[in-house]
Amino acid sequence: AQSVTQLDSQVPVFEEAPVELRCNYSSSVSVYLFWYVQYPNQGLQLLLKYLSGSTLVKGINGFEAEFNKSQTSFHLRKPSVHISDTAEYFCAVSAPASKLTFGTGTRLQVTL
């Protein structure tokens, strides 16, 4: 079985500052990794995913994440955040023929 740990429940950041949201996973087999964003009162939207290939994955809204197999991490980064990036961010993992397992989420709060 796979599991995901998002250590930071909340991350406050000023607008235009860089941000990193941390995600670590555990699995005994090869994994697929995802980041989803959830805006208030909305469903989840896929930001980016890693299936194979290049370890640096670029997603929508200027976000990117890097798969690090040795550290079992998939941290999400953005060089300059905007107020509109305020949302809940979920890291998720799956393996071939297995379900998607989500972390507990990180609340990104962007202020002026």
Partner: protein, 115 residues
């Protein structure tokens, strides 16, 4: 294209009552998922359908939860009887690819409060 539709958006019931949620996936999407998202937690898969067949319901509390997807399109999720711990947001998602490689598109969810 229209997204995943869910209704109702909010529901308040007393414990031991029954409740049903409805989901209409994106047209043409064969795979449909129901998730339970308890406050402060990530979504947890309850059941996955491929067309009108169940692929995975290992985490569905079958003594009180049931789901169906007649004709492989719309789906309903029912809870009977509800317990306080069922208070959560119930998310429906659909995908046009079987398995986890395909992107899942999520609806806005139904927020259930059990009092």
């Amino acid at each position: 294209e229209a997204g995943v539709a869910q209704s109702p958006r909010y529901k308040i019931i007393e414990k031991r009552q029954s409740v049903a949620f409805w989901c209409n996936p994106i047209s043409g999407h064969a795979t449909l998922y129901w998730y339970q998202q308890i406050l402060g937690q990530g979504p947890k898969l309850l059941i996955q359908f491929q067309n009108n067949g169940v692929v995975d319901d290992s985490q569905l509390p079958k003594d009180r939860f049931s789901a169906e997807r007649l004709k492989g399109v719309d789906s309903t999720l029912k809870i009977q009887p509800a317990k306080l711990e069922d208070s959560a947001v119930y998310l429906c998602a659909s995908s046009n690819v079987r398995g986890q490689l395909g992107e899942q598109y999520f609806g806005p969810g139904t927020r259930l409060t059990v009092t």
